[in-house]
């Protein structure tokens, strides 16, 4: 007890290393560890403050429309419904695209840039496990920013209405479409974002590539749908993520597009495809993008 501090520190140093006789949880635990770590770093948790600003900021911005609706509902009695559930995702689609474009390169690019892949791949998992853990992490992160605002809107509407129980009863049929559309969007955007981001360790290129994929395809399709009268242009929305999201969301909510609204909704009114087509096309593209991601990680040098 009366030993000088240095001496004590020396003893600790000598104790140092010891053998480990405890359990080893193997591959599943390894994949889970990568998933948790990636989900945390998607929002910059466990990183410096500057890494938190963009993802946290976007996660807050995406809540603003729901908050405004709730604020108005709280002040003005009665049913003032500014935003319907089926319109919310379309309303914030550019924010969701920005979030995906910011986070996907964060999840994949860092390990490529710093050569950390060789440490992961020499541990208790397979290359595809790593890629799937990253995929799961981005899907979860996307769910936070898609499902989150809709849950807020739903709960707020219920609390703000005169009879909360009555609101829940009347709107129970909205729950399934909310979950289905946000889940599909999250998986869809995550697969696209990661498939693009996996191709380059350079963050700027990856972010630009993901954004371009969303914005350029959407603009191109809008122009073509409105300008061209050829029959093939009817199917062009099936290559634009924004159009697909609007399409399958309305399909899940069994809502219909109005004429003259302009933008993505207007385009879809013009082409007038059956709603299920959007859902199927989305599933197809998601499968291709996920396959590209896995293939890239089978081959990437480590």
């Amino acid at each position: 007890m009366s030993q000088p501090a240095e001496h004590v520190a020396g003893n600790i140093y000598d104790l140092g290393y010891q053998r480990y006789g405890g359990v080893r949880l193997g591959r599943r635990h390894a994949v889970l560890a990568v998933y948790v770590q990636s989900l945390r770093s998607a929002f910059g948790l466990g990183r410096r403050t500057s890494s938190k600003i963009i993802p946290m900021g976007l996660a807050i911005v995406v809540l603003i429309p729901a908050s405004i609706q709730l604020g108005i509902a709280a002040i003005a009695p009665g049913d003032v419904e500014l935003i319907k559930f089926e319109n919310y995702l379309g309303f914030v689609e550019i924010i969701l695209a920005l979030f995906c474009a910011a986070v996907a390169p964060e999840l994949l690019g860092r390990d490529q840039r710093t050569n950390t892949l060789s440490l992961y791949f020499s541990r208790a998992l397979l290359r595809r496990d790593y890629a799937l853990a990253k995929f799961g992490a981005l899907v979860s992160a996307m769910l936070v920013v898609t499902l989150g605002p809709l849950v807020l809107l739903f709960a707020g509407n219920a609390l703000g209405s005169d009879d909360s129980l009555d609101y829940l009863k009347n709107n129970a049929d909205q729950v399934l479409p909310i979950v289905a559309s946000t889940a599909m969007l999250s998986i869809f955007f995550a697969s696209l974002g990661l498939a693009v981001a996996a191709q380059t360790p350079r963050r700027a290129f990856a972010t630009g590539g993901v954004l371009a994929l969303f914005v350029v395809s959407s603009s191109f399709v809008s122009i073509m749908v409105n300008a061209a009268s050829e029959d093939y242009s009817r199917y062009l929305p099936l290559v634009s993520p924004f159009h697909l999201v609007r399409g399958f969301t309305f399909f899940f909510f069994q809502a219909s597009f109005q004429s003259g609204t302009g933008g993505v909704g207007g385009d879809l009114y013009i082409v007038d495809l059956p709603g299920a087509v959007y859902a199927l096309a989305t599933l197809g593209i998601t499968a291709v993008a996920a396959a590209l991601l896995l293939r890239r990680y089978e081959r990437i040098a480590a």
Partner: protein, 309 residues
């Protein structure tokens, strides 16, 4: 159970480059040095054992696990320290090493406890709570060693662990590696192109060149003493040499040093008598020890002549 077995292991890149050429090895646990020139295939062998690259043909087992088919199970018990930089700059050493321990299969709490112990073992103290971007090369090498050790592997594969270190850092790293192998019984396969390092740390040496096995033996057999006595005298080396030749010894003069073939104990007495008779000072008599460096140097013809008979 052997630590490591390879059978006709071959790795080709395209048709032009052959990194490993039918390499067959059988090694028992210990501290094993892997030596060869740059491009000899050291890193390729390590990466195949880790499942980082697939061999073109052949098979390999490590700790009794098939490296191709049982990768995740095997790698719970394997630590790898790559040659290159591999640390994320914006994490702390503690967070990173604890994460890596979990990816090796350790539960969360065990991972954190062992991270603290392991970082202390490699000599990283308060710095471990700082982001790694500011670390010196020596500190980075310590973190790299720590992440290879944190899950208490049965074997560690170290690729040029002293790369980029200054002489003091090099000594400390070799000492750490040596202690880890000797005191904790963790098998080590360590590649290096510096023979002196291997000689200090390892008890078994594997030499590969052009992807083929050149030699695999205990270090002791590599460094066996050669049967040559080196005798240094103050002056009159030629007269001493002549006297010894008269007595029937084979002698070669190298300035003031005489190299004398040693078949039995007889030369010691003859040398003593010769220097006393002639009256010159004897500086030293030593058995020439063959160092590992000599293996890779063409033998000096006269010296091998002397030893030959």
């Amino acid at each position: 159970m052997p630590l490591l077995e390879t059978h006709e292991l071959t790795k080709r890149y395209g048709s032009a480059v052959t990194a490993l050429d039918s390499l067959s090895l059988n090694l028992d646990p210990g501290v094993i040095g892997l030596v060869g020139a740059n491009g000899a295939g050291k890193s390729t062998l390590l990466k195949i054992l880790l499942g980082l690259i697939a061999p073109t043909s052949g098979s390999a087992t490590l700790l009794g696990f098939d490296v191709l088919r049982q990768g995740p199970e095997l790698r719970q018990f394997v630590g790898y320290m790559p040659e290159h930089d591999c640390l994320p700059t914006d994490m702390t050493a503690t967070d990173f090493v604890a994460h890596m321990a979990q990816v090796s299969g350790l539960p969360r709490t065990a991972a954190r406890e062992r991270t603290a112990e392991t970082l202390r073992h490699v000599g990283l103290f308060e710095e471990r709570y700082r982001e790694m971007r500011g670390y010196s090369t020596g500190m980075k090498q310590r973190v790299k060693l720590a992440q290879a050790l944190v899950h208490d592997p049965r074997v560690m594969l170290l690729d040029e662990p002293t790369n980029g270190l200054d002489p003091a850092g090099r000594d400390e790293m070799l000492d750490l590696v040596h202690r880890t192998g000797a005191e904790f019984g963790i098998a080590i396969v360590m590649s290096s192109h510096l023979l002196g390092e291997i000689e200090r740390v390892c008890d078994h040496l594997v030499v590969i060149g052009n992807g083929r096995l050149v030699r695999s033996d205990a270090i002791a057999t590599f460094t066996a003493r050669t049967q040559v006595l080196a005798v240094e005298v103050e002056s009159s080396a030629d007269r001493v040499a002549a006297r010894l030749r008269d007595k029937g010894l084979r002698v070669i003069e190298e300035g003031r040093t005489l190299l004398i073939g040693l078949e039995d104990d007889r030369p010691y007495d003859l040398i003593r008598d010769a220097v006393v008779d002639i009256g010159v000072g004897l500086v030293r008599i030593e058995q020439r020890r063959q160092s590992l460096e000599d293996l890779f140097r063409p033998p000096r013809p006269e010296e091998s002549d002397v030893a030959a008979s």
